[in-house]
Symmetry: C2
Subunit: 481 residues, 2 copies
């Protein structure tokens, strides 16, 4: 049943607004299990479309799906020193199975590098076996103290790519390839512009040589780390003895990458586009792209209008558009409009008796605007509207990000921004841990990335935004989820 409770406005409480949007659109719900959420069909439908798009991109670039065990022997985690430090405190541990205490406790996977490298050591012998380009769609458990629907939950769904290569250069190229693929997905499908770049040492993945990330800016001007791609060097290969015979007959450890995006993306999508009415979903990821609402007063009108509504639905469906005809009785059209708007359906077609007489329907966009369109050639009008909405959402999100991006910031300005409305602050960075930490303590902002070239300021900042000494690199600060 539609929940008629008010959605808290963003201006009043962004965090309450976010939860209200999710509950109203029935995307997810809290479960009786601490920190774990239930993804309801309307939310899971978005994730399924995300999966399809990403899976297609992975396969086009030569990756294959596989599945590795949920459980990891506790001793495996410990084989890579940084890795265990990063993940051990967050694990859920199985100590009993089949009614008996286990000899060695099993960790519920917080990520799968260790179990995968244990297997790769068995499968890889020679350079001819390389590269290995694997991906898996799986559930992950990381014990979280403070959880938020989609953004941070004890259990979440993700994909994790794991690749092994004969050379460092190939593994780095893979890391970069995936970062670009993620960015393309986020922009072309989610309509969520992101900045890419490399993480500082303190923010990198536990066990990686270098971590690259995509960072989006949400409507509350906090950053969301939306995807990461790690160059692992030979760290895991050494820990698990994953060696191969090179073309020249020597033994070497494989070079590797790992990368992932998760159901967190659904949270990013919500916080990028939605409004005080509810969810706004980019058409390419909308489980329902078009809803047809019939309008009638008499039984006679009802029959005429539903006949046309059914024809419209069939025609659009045949054209590959995800469409629904809302035939529910005992509910007024206005109530239906309101409900489908809060659920983020991009296009609504209203069909009343006068529309039928005129051979038209009213096309209303979730993002605003309503106009009559002829039934003849309706598929093209609808497709055009969906494409325009998709493009407009990306443009609006990009404009919003640009309006909240500040360049060449120095200490006072950085503090002012982070104490104020937030945003992406670009500034020089001396590279010291001390400045990174001092900024975080004072402003709660972290270095999101050292941005890739196309995002960098020109000219490059000369001095560190905090200490004023010579800058060695440019950094992007923001408060983050």
């Amino acid at each position: 049943m539609a929940d008629r409770q008010r959605i808290t406005p963003r201006s009043e409480d962004f965090s309450a607004w976010y939860n209200d949007v999710i509950m109203r659109a029935e995307l997810a719900d809290y479960s009786p299990v601490r920190g774990c959420m239930v993804i309801r069909p309307r939310g899971y439908g978005i994730w399924e479309l995300m999966q399809q798009a990403l899976d297609g991109m992975f396969k086009e670039t030569g990756h294959e799906n596989a599945y590795f065990p949920l459980f990891i022997p506790q001793s495996f985690l410990a084989k890579e020193a940084e890795h265990v430090q990063g993940f051990a405190p967050q694990t859920a541990v199985v100590t009993h199975g089949g009614g008996k205490e286990l000899e060695e406790p099993l960790v519920v996977r917080p990520t799968s590098e260790t179990i995968i490298y244990a297997m790769l050591s068995k499968w890889i012998q020679s350079y001819r076996d390389l590269p290995v380009l694997l991906n898996q769609w799986a559930n992950i458990v990381r014990w979280e103290m403070r959880t938020r629907l989609f953004l941070r939950t004890t259990e979440f769904l993700w994909q994790e790519g794991h690749t092994a290569h004969a050379t460092a250069a190939e593994a780095e190229e893979e890391t970069r390839l995936i970062l670009g693929l993620y960015r393309r997905f986020m922009e072309e499908w989610m309509a969520m512009p992101v900045i890419t770049g490399v993480k500082t040492e303190s923010e990198k993945f536990a066990g990686a040589v270098r971590t690259f990330a995509c960072e989006g800016l949400m409507q509350d001007n906090k950053a969301l780390q939306a995807g990461t791609s790690h160059f692992l060097g030979q760290n895991f290969a050494r820990a698990f003895g994953t060696q191969f015979q090179t073309a020249s007959g020597e033994l070497d450890y494989v070079w590797s990458s790992s990368w992932g995006v998760s159901t967190r993306l659904v949270g990013g999508l919500i916080m990028t586009h939605s409004d005080d009415v509810g969810l706004v979903c980019p058409p390419r990821l909308a489980p329902t792209q078009v809803v047809i609402v019939p309008i009638f007063r008499s039984d006679d009108e009802r029959i005429r209008v539903l006949e046309v509504g059914g024809q419209v639905m069939d025609a659009l469906r045949a054209g590959g558009i995800r469409v629904l005809l809302d035939q529910r009785e005992g509910m007024k059209p206005g109530a239906k409009y309101y409900e489908w708007e809060s659920r983020g359906v991009p296009v609504r077609l209203e069909v009343g008796p006068r529309d039928v007489d005129k051979g038209q329907a009213m096309l209303a966009r979730r993002t605003g605007g309503k106009a009559p369109v002829p039934l003849d050639g309706l598929e093209i009008s609808v497709r055009t509207a969906l494409d325009e909405i998709q493009a407009a959402l990306l443009a609006a999100a990009r404009d919003r990000r640009e309006a909240n991006t500040f360049r060449g910031v120095e200490k006072d300005r950085l503090i002012e921004i982070m104490d104020g409305s937030g945003g992406f602050a670009f500034g020089g960075y001396c590279g010291s841990d001390a400045c990174e930490l001092a900024i975080q303590e004072r402003t709660k902002a972290t270095i999101r990335v050292l941005p890739d070239e196309e995002f960098r300021s020109d000219p490059a900042p000369a001095t560190c935004a905090w200490c004023g000494k010579k800058a060695v690199v440019e950094a992007v600060w923001a408060r983050a989820y």
Copy 2:
């Protein structure tokens, strides 16, 4: 690298043969985690195609996907008395999370009825909210003592459908709808004929009123329970207080069903069709349907042959056929044939210089037979071959099952069959637990199902195959996986 070790013949050791086929075709591997397997890309590819087909069938019949937590509070399992008896001994239990001992241990889901009914109680208020038709694709853990790749592993992948209805009749209809859908999938996609029917009390799902199942007959004449569909009555609704207001304003508990198939199906596919050379995979579920093997001696020949091979690949791929061009160097065509045969690729196209001159390719079928086909119109020849192989596999499996199905069996014959080569034994059953148990103790055969009408013998058996008293029903006995 191709493993050249010999595949144990079926006649020598069926169980060793099964493992050899899996290892040779690289479908799966043992993991360092007790009872857990790794599904490798060639095996996962089959599962992905199974998922796509089933998911499409579920959605066509109005089901929606969702995702519920991996963890279930231990107390939830106990709310349905039979359910906890059946599953508690098999659970893996998380006792520690985030470095602390949990107040209440969490069970890793052995099935999700309990957590789902806890949520449905929150979501369902009125008959207007019904039916609820949910499915989830998930991993499941049941602590198993003796495990076998795909057939019985501590962790496995499956789909579990859960539906709630206003009336018993609707829930029963759903249970039957899904049983039919499973059968159709097994026959049309897996080319695996199955008998459907209802389980006896001793074999039903813990918590169900009635369990229906699809049973296939493997090449060793043991039965495989390949899918089950349960009518749950109001058992879980009562345990979790899932009530709704009926159209007449009263309160009632919902009526429900649950149903599932798992990665066990991959094991069933292997044991239904494969031979002593290796995997035989039905074309509709083959990740690679066609492999093109170029044949050449000189560089000049290589260029000509690969050009044509590439064109053939592009043409077939454009037609939606899953095709691969094996360009590996330093490997003789014969070795490639052998490898792709053991991996179960249904069609091989050999392209040599003389074939190119004649505008043809040699088309070899995994199931036997090789003939030239013109390159012109090759897509149609290939499609025809794939369709014929698919149909022939089903026909052969059906013939094999019929040849190993025995009707009207009585005590001596039942013992003789089960002590001998096995198979499906149809006979009368008095309905007593005593006979069911005595047969199992003497022959190791269980009642697979009380068969649905279309599988029953005519005339119906008059007396119980064991005690000779009046039969109340016909039963199908077999030893089973």
